[in-house]
Symmetry: C2
Subunit: 137 residues, 2 copies
């Protein structure tokens, strides 16, 4: 039994063709951020006849199960990426859309300090830096 199947089972989800395929596509995207539409197109490209509604459903299930992470970039609509062990933030090129990831301990620590000062307990955070990448400047 493959790793994908186990991940699905562990999340309490039946192992179905759409779910396995979508997981493979996300895995194969190697950190690239995909919209539901992107995933849908990728499925059609590999001749899988899976409806857009299912793509949305499955992505939401994966998010709930903690398998993928949903982001809201500036435009407002959602993009997804496989959940990785390590947390990271994003720096997005506003011209070509390229996304790079980074992790900064100083920023992380500083956020905790700010939250504490306001009496908040942090459950999550999102930091996006927007600008122009090397190629687009």
């Amino acid at each position: 039994m493959s790793g994908e199947n186990q991940e699905l089972r562990a999340a309490g989800l039946k192992v179905t063709l759409p779910r396995v395929k979508i997981m493979q596509i996300l895995d194969a995207s190697e950190g690239r951020h995909m919209s539901a539409e992107d995933v849908y197109k990728a499925l059609r490209d590999s001749d899988e006849d899976i409806g857009l509604a299912t793509v949305y459903r499955v992505l939401t299930q994966f998010e709930t199960a903690g398998l993928v992470m949903r982001h809201h970039f500036e435009g407002g609509h959602s993009v997804f990426e496989m959940m990785s062990e390590d947390h990271h933030d994003h720096i997005v090129c506003t011209k070509c859309g390229k996304v790079e990831e980074f992790f900064d301990e100083v920023i992380e620590a500083q956020q905790k300090i700010q939250a504490k000062a306001k009496g908040f307990t942090i459950s999550d955070h999102s930091l996006y830096i927007y600008g122009l990448c090397k190629d687009c400047q």
Copy 2:
């Protein structure tokens, strides 16, 4: 001539009743973040018969003119706040929706360092910390 009128003129916008009213509402909201719908409701509450389409139009114009700032909180849809001189980030309570603002020089500086390391020039950034506020824990 009131301050609002001058701000509108300076932005190259005609001084019309909807624009003045919407600006007053945003001013009066005192840092609270309002959705287009919120503004629309506030208008109806003060017996102004201004269409939702106009609210959206005007808010977008204000954003373009640099009078208000648009944010995309977790849900994905937009909220607006009057532009303030000083930049700040947000800490949002996921239960009651309360939003507090903070500014952290260390984080700001660290972002510049990260961007430089990736070869990006920063045009903007957004940092949202999500968690539970003092009252909701």
